[in-house]
C-alpha cells in the first residue's frame, strides 16, 4: 500500500493523518508535506499514525527532521500511535524520549506541556 496524507486544522494545531507505508520510497512525500506546513507558518503539528502499516528508519528520519523544523519556530510535533509494531521502532531508537506520543488525536490536540 502506498502512503496517504491528509491535513486538517483543530484550533491552533494542524493534524496530519498518515496512512499506509512510510519507507525510503514514500518518505519524501511526507517530508515535503511537513516542510510545506512549516513554510506556511503552521508550527504546532499532530501526526496521526494510527493508519500507518509500516515505518522504517527513513520515516523516523523524516519525523525527526519535522521536529527540528517546528522547534526552530518554538513549535511542537506530537505523534498519535497505539500500534505496538510501530512503537517498537521508536523505543529501539530512543525516540520515545524525544516525541510526545499520545493515544488519541483529541489528547494530542489538548496537550500543552
Amino acid at each position: 500500500m502506498d502512503l496517504s496524507l491528509s491535513t486538517r486544522t483543530e484550533g491552533d494545531r494542524t493534524v496530519v493523518v498518515v496512512g499506509g507505508e512510510i519507507d525510503v520510497y514514500t518518505a519524501p512525500k511526507l517530508r515535503e508535506q511537513l516542510i510545506d506546513l512549516v513554510s506556511s507558518g503552521q508550527y504546532h503539528l499532530v501526526v496521526d499514525m494510527e493508519g500507518v502499516e509500516f515505518l522504517d528508519s527513513t520515516g523516523l528520519g523524516v519525523l525527526v527532521g519535522g521536529l527540528k523544523r517546528v522547534r526552530a519556530h518554538e513549535g511542537s510535533l506530537r505523534l498519535v500511535c497505539t500500534q505496538e509494531r510501530i512503537l517498537k521502532i521508536f523505543r529501539i531508537t530512543g525516540l520515545t524520549k524525544v516525541f510526545p506520543i499520545h493515544g488519541t488525536v483529541e489528547e494530542a490536540v489538548a496537550a500543552t506541556d
Binding site: E21, D23, V24, Y25, A27, R31, F54, D56, S57, T58, L60, G61, V62, V64, G65, L67, K68, R69, A72, R85, K88, I89, I92, T93, G94, L95, K97, V98
Partner: protein, 160 residues
Amino acid sequence: MALVELTLAPLPAHVRTARLVVVAAARRAGLDADLIDELRLAVGEATSRAVGLHARNGVDGPVQVRVVDNPARLTVTVTDQGPAAGPVPDDLAGDMLDSDDPHDADDVVDPDVSLAVLAGLVDDYAVEANDSGTTVTLRWPLPVRAVGQTGPASTQAAQA
C-alpha cells in the same frame, strides 16, 4: 539451496520488492506468524540501508538479497557493495536530533540508524564487512517439522 535470490538495482522502489518477496518466502517456509512483522521491518531496514549506501556513494551495482531455509532456521542475507559500516552511535536519538544540518536527519537512509534498529530488533543478527561491501545476516527459528515429514536419509540413520 537458496529459496530465493534477488539481485536488485539500488532503487528505493525495490526496497518494497525485497520486503514483499522475502515475506512471501518466509511464510512459505513456515515462519511463525508472530515473527512476520519483525522480518518485514528487518528486511526493509537492511535493504533500505544498502540502497541508501549505494546512492550516497554513487555505486551502481546491485544489492543482493538471499533467503535460505534449512530445517531449523530461516536465514536472510542482504549484501551491498558500499563502504564498510561505521560504529553505531551510543545516543542515537540525540545524534539524530542534535545534528546542525536541518536536512541531515531527513537523509534518504542513515546507515547507522538502520544498523541500530536491526541490532535492537533481531536477536540473531550479524554484520560482516569485507573488501567488496557488507553483508547483513538475519536469522529466525523455523518450527520443528513433524516426524512424518522427516526425509528418508534420517530415517535410515535412525534405524542403523
